[in-house]
Structure formats: C-alpha cells, structure tokens
C-alpha cells in the first residue's frame, strides 16, 4: 500500500498516460460525459447562479470564523454524545484513529470514501498494524484491490476499463472469467461487501458537512455504503478537515442542492445522512469525530489562497479541465488532482514539490465557471505560478525565456527585430527542428506569419483611418 503520494512528476506521468491515445480519448470522453450531465442539472435549476453565490458567501463566512465554529461544533457535538478529537497533522489523525480502534479491539473496519483519509495515508497505517480495512465505495474498492490510489476525488476508478475490473474481480472475488458486464460485476462486489458490512466491528467515514448549530455531520453517498457502514457496527469514527464546518442546519440545503448536481449531474446524492452522535437505540454504540488541521491553518493564513478552503470536493473542476481529462489523475502525483489539487498541493506540500502542478493548466477558466462555491481557480493557479517563480522553482530554460521576453518587451528596437525574425526566418527554422527543440515542435504548429508587422501596417494605412 503506497498512497498519499507527495512527489509529483506531472510531465513524466502524463506523457506515459498520453502514449496510449485510445485510452486517453476514452478517459477524456468519460469525463466530458459527466460534465455534460452536470450542465443539464445546472441549466434546469433556475436559481443556479444565486445558489452558487449564496454557497460562496456561507463558505467565506466559515473560512473567516474557523475557530468560533469549531468551538461551537465541538460543544454541540459533545452534547450529542460524540467523542471529539483534534489532530494537528496526518500522523496525529492516524495515531488517534488507530488508538480508538485498538481500545475497542477492532480488527475489521469498513470504510466509506474520504479524501481526507487518503491525504493522511490512514489505510496503510492501519493495515501495517494488523487491521483489515475494506473500502466500500465500489470505485475505491476497485482501486484498493489494485493497490492504487484513486485517480479522481468522486470517481476513483475512472481510469479503469470494465475488462480490467472483470479480471480483478475474477482474481479476488471469484467472479467468472471473462465477465465484463457492469451490472453483473457490481453484483459480485455487492455480495462480497455485504458480508463485510455485516462482519465489521467498526465503520470509518468522511464528512461532507459538519453543522456547528446541531453538532451533526452529513455524509453523502450514492451507493448507501456510508449508511451501511455506520448503522450496523458498534463503533463509528468520522474524520473531517476543519474546513467542512457550516454554521446552520439550513445551510445544508444549499450545499445538498449544489453538491451532486456539480459532481455527477444528479439532483441530490441517493443517501444524504445527518448523524448526531451515538444511536441511543443501540446499547453500547459509540461515535467519535476527529477534526484535522494538516496544513489547513496554513492555507487560512495565506490571504491569496484562503478561499480554496471553500472547496466541497465535488470534482466538477476535474471533469471540465482539458488538462486533467487528457492527463489522468495520477499525473498530479498528489491525493487531489485537477485544478483544485493543483492549487491545494503547493500549500500542503510546498512550492518545490508541487512546482509543476499550477502549470498543468491552460488557464481557460472553465474550472472557475463550474465551481459551485465560486473559487477563482484559474486566478489561484496564476498566482501560484508567480510564487513558484519567486521561490526559484521554475526550470532554468523557462526563466531564461522569461528574461529574454522582458528584455525584448522593454526595447522597441529589439522587439521590431524579433518580429522580423519570426515573420521571415522562424517558419523556415521550425521546418527542420533539431536538438532540444524537437519535442516541442513535434506537437505544435505556428500559424502562418502575417506579411508585415502592425507597426509597418500602421505607418502605411493608420493615418488614413485616423
């Protein structure tokens, strides 16, 4: 079990992904299909834009009041019988969760999807300590059985084809060889996982929203796995990032209307469940919450990027991103891929390690347009580029190119010479690329150069138009 990768090599990995053109095209189309489903839902919701603005305003309030809301939430949660834990970082979260499980002598754990526990590497931590941890979301189960991390935050197995799932289930669950029907394959997983739900001693879930007013958490799934993973076991542990707080129960309505529409083009997730502490009807039932910082307080202190804490992890920016769709999630080399991952990663793992990620974007702004909480993602990407450059983490040839650019732009004579060169000489040079330029020119064409420069044209024509 690897997971929680923290050393991205975007170019290298995306190049390998792109080498299989057929698969790249298929990946691209699968995600675009999800994006179009999202569009249909957005267009059918008459107050969509108003809803986004409202959600953004709630989240702005939350980011400005993290400590106040955490205090209120913890107080209300304790009143409902939750045991509340706080963790500064991934290591403390892992230790805390393991401690609770060990105290209860738990050996079998069912887990529903939580990007936060992926971020912390909780699964490998527990497995190394002899606990059986079963991911129960079908996509997560598939990647877990393949010993891979998820490649998407909502669609963990979006990079895997049905034939591969068939082989995997044949090997691990005894489904017939050659079975590739998604209905049949899901049936095998259902039977296998049902048994595990029944046998498990504890359930671990993520948290979509934590309501400060009531001390409840909200967990959303389509499969029902978070419900089956909390309703049957004597122990529940919920893991949440501190940014998941919302002030009021009423606010949940706003986010439930946005989340599934943005994520998968459904009007709401199939199961959206509020839980308030241990179930008083189940004697001995225990419920714990672990609230995690792990770099979030650092993002809060970063005035340029604190808005990224508003993210509700719907994945809409991944589905729409032309770079994500054609690179695959693993290219980002970090738990959260796509535009939101590329702006969170530099905060969480530093600009040195994440130096390639904010450049993995065309800055087309589509991510910003689909974000349900209106994070200005493309502006964030741009501002990270500047900071990565300021930190000296841009490759020498890019730095050189920028310095030449600055020189040319500030000297009109050089600019004119440059223009002449590009019009007259460049097209001929590019026809015979050699050396280090070749990979660049192989995948790019210059448009035909105009016959004359704008300044030349202005000299001849400009006055008569004036």
């Amino acid at each position: 079990m690897s997971h929680a990768p923290t050393d991205p090599h975007f170019h290298e990995v995306s190049e390998r992904f792109l080498a299989n053109r057929e698969r790249t095209a298929w990946h691209d189309q699968s995600l675009w299909f999800v994006r179009t489903k999202r569009d249909r839902q957005a267009y059918q919701t008459p107050d969509w834009e108003q809803l986004r603005s409202h959600a953004a305003a709630i989240k702005a309030h939350v980011v400005d009041h993290l400590a106040e809301l955490t205090r209120q939430f913890a107080q209300q949660a304790r009143a409902r019988g939750w045991t509340v834990h706080f963790a500064a970082d991934a290591a403390e979260l892992n230790r805390t969760v393991h401690g609770i499980l060990a105290t209860h002598k738990v050996t079998r754990v069912v887990k529903s999807k939580s990007m936060l526990t992926e971020e912390c590497g909780l699964n490998p931590y527990l497995l190394e300590r002899g606990m059986e941890v079963v991911d129960t979301d079908l996509g997560e189960r598939i990647v877990q059985l393949r010993d891979e991390p998820p490649s998407h935050i909502v669609l963990p197995a979006i990079h895997i084809k049905r034939g591969e799932v068939g082989e995997l289930f044949h090997r691990t669950m005894g489904s017939p060889a050659g079975e590739t029907d998604p209905v049949a394959l899901t049936g095998y997983a259902r039977a296998d996982l049902r048994k595990r739900f029944i046998e498990a001693d504890a359930g671990i879930t993520g948290v979509n929203f934590a309501v400060a007013e009531t001390g409840s958490i909200v967990v959303c799934t389509n499969e029902g796995n978070a419900d089956l993973g909390t309703a049957l076991q004597p122990l529940h542990i919920a893991c949440m990032g501190v940014e998941k707080l919302v002030p009021l129960l009423d606010d949940v309505a706003v986010f439930l209307r946005l989340l599934a529409r943005s994520a998968t083009g459904q009007p709401i997730t199939t199961y959206s469940t509020h839980l308030s502490g241990p179930d008083p009807l189940r004697p001995g039932h225990e419920a714990h919450i672990v609230i995690l910082d792990n770099g979030r307080s650092g993002i809060e202190r970063d005035s340029e990027h604190r808005r990224t804490l508003s993210c509700i992890r719907c994945g809409a920016c991944l589905n729409t991103c032309p770079i994500y769709r054609r690179s695959g999630g693993f290219a980002y080399g970090w738990t959260i891929p796509g535009p939101i991952g590329a702006v969170l990663a530099p905060s969480m793992i530093g600009t040195k390690k994440a130096k390639e990620l904010p450049f993995a974007s065309t800055l087309c702004g589509s991510c910003t347009n689909v974000c349900p909480v209106k994070i200005d993602l493309h502006e964030q990407l741009l501002s990270w580029r500047a900071r990565i450059a300021a930190d000296g983490n841009v490759a020498w040839h890019k730095r050189l190119a920028m310095r030449i650019g600055a020189l040319v732009m500030s000297h009109p004579g050089l600019y004119a010479l440059g223009g002449w060169t590009v019009r007259k000489l460049w097209p001929r040079l590019l026809a015979f690329p050699v050396g280090p330029l070749k990979p660049w020119t192989d995948t790019r064409d210059l448009p035909d150069a105009p016959r004359q420069s704008f300044r030349g044209w202005w000299k001849e024509e400009g006055d008569s138009h004036g």
Binding site: L51, A67, R80, T136, E223, I268, T273, R282
Partner: protein
C-alpha cells in the same frame, strides 16, 4: 492534541470578517405529485397510482404477491398506518440491525417528499429501525401526498417546524431513489449496497 491548542492554530489571521448571508429563500414554487414523480423517475425510482388510506393494505398485498417477496418487514410507523397485515412482519427495535439482512421488501413511511430531487426524509422519529431499508433488497415507501414540498430549503424549514425546539433526531436521511453506482466505466447500475429498487405508493385523504 487538546481543543485549546487546536483552536489557537486555526484562529483567524485575516482582517476580513465575512457575515453569514442569512437564510436562502428562493421564489416559492407549489409542490406537486407530477413534479415529484418526474424527479423520481430520473433517479431510478418507480411509483404506483395514488390510493386512499383505506386502499393501502389491498394495494400493498398486490405489490407483495406481484414481486413474490418472501420476507416482508414493515417499520413500526408503517404498521401504525396500515394495521397488522398478514404476511408482513413488524420491525422490532430490539436486537441487532443485522436481523434484517435477509429481508426482501421493507415498507417505510417517509416524513417529507421533495419535488426537485425525489428525496424523502427518514429519521429516528419515523424510522428508529435505521438498518431496515438499507439491508432490504427492495423498499416500498408509503408517501402521504400532503407531505410534499417543492425544494430542499422548504424541506429544512418544515423539518425545523416539526422539531419545534426538540433536538435533532440521532439520524436523519434524505433518500432519493434506489442505491446506485457508476464506478465501472460510468455505466449506471441500480442496486449498489442498499436497496435494488425504490417504489413509492402515494396516498391522500379521499
């Protein structure tokens, strides 16, 4: 780490102090059964024609024999509504939820139905037997048409009125259609971990 140390870490560093935007109240839309039904079909659920409360037992018998369901369990709330019916057990709160793992059909009574997304509210009030509709292969929900609301905002408002100062019930679930997944090549499969089908039998006072 203790709470004080954690709060110190996350205490606001920023001068901004954005106010909460207040309640969200969009233009009011009238709820209607056709609107709910169309959302329900979109999320993979199905429905029967509306009946009167007196016709419920007969309609349910027909559904059970048509589906050839062997073990049928009604929630306590459903039994209160229907009376005891032959061939239908009433869920007992006592004991382990796992007792329902072999249930074919669960009969439940939701507290609200939301037209924009076919979500139905179940909580510790209407369904203390939380595991029942999760473990059952199929679910039949008896929906009182007077409990329809247009959207989620109205639903939460109504929920607050229901609670009338009472604490949140321990569990409170919006369930919209049958359990589903599209994790294998984005092919929609109904019946992931929870119920394989979700039928709604609407009823209204004659």
């Amino acid at each position: 780490m203790d709470e004080a140390a954690f709060l110190a870490r996350i205490t606001r560093s920023h001068p901004s102090h954005a106010a909460h935007p207040g309640p969200y109240r969009p233009e009011r839309i009238e709820p209607s059964w056709p609107a709910f039904k169309s959302s329900l079909e979109f999320v993979g659920g199905s429905s029967h024609a509306a009946v009167t409360p007196a016709q419920l037992p007969e309609a349910i018998s027909a559904i059970i024999s048509f589906g050839a369901h062997r073990r049928v369990v009604a929630s306590a709330a459903a039994t209160r509504l229907l009376g005891v019916q032959s061939g239908v057990e009433t869920a007992s709160q006592a004991g382990d939820a796992r007792q329902w793992n072999d249930v074919d059909l669960a009969i439940i009574v939701p507290e609200l139905g939301v037209c924009e997304n076919a979500a139905m509210l179940l909580s510790a009030v209407s369904l203390p037997e939380r595991g029942l509709p999760l473990l059952a292969q199929h679910v039949l929900a008896l929906l009182d048409l007077r409990l329809l609301v247009a959207d989620m905002h109205e639903a939460y408002l109504r929920m607050a009125h229901h609670r009338d100062g009472q604490a949140m019930p321990h569990h409170l679930t919006w369930i919209s259609g049958p359990s589903k997944t599209a994790d294998i090549e984005q092919a929609l499969v109904i019946g992931a971990h929870g119920c394989r089908s979700m039928m709604i039998l609407p009823f209204s006072a004659p």
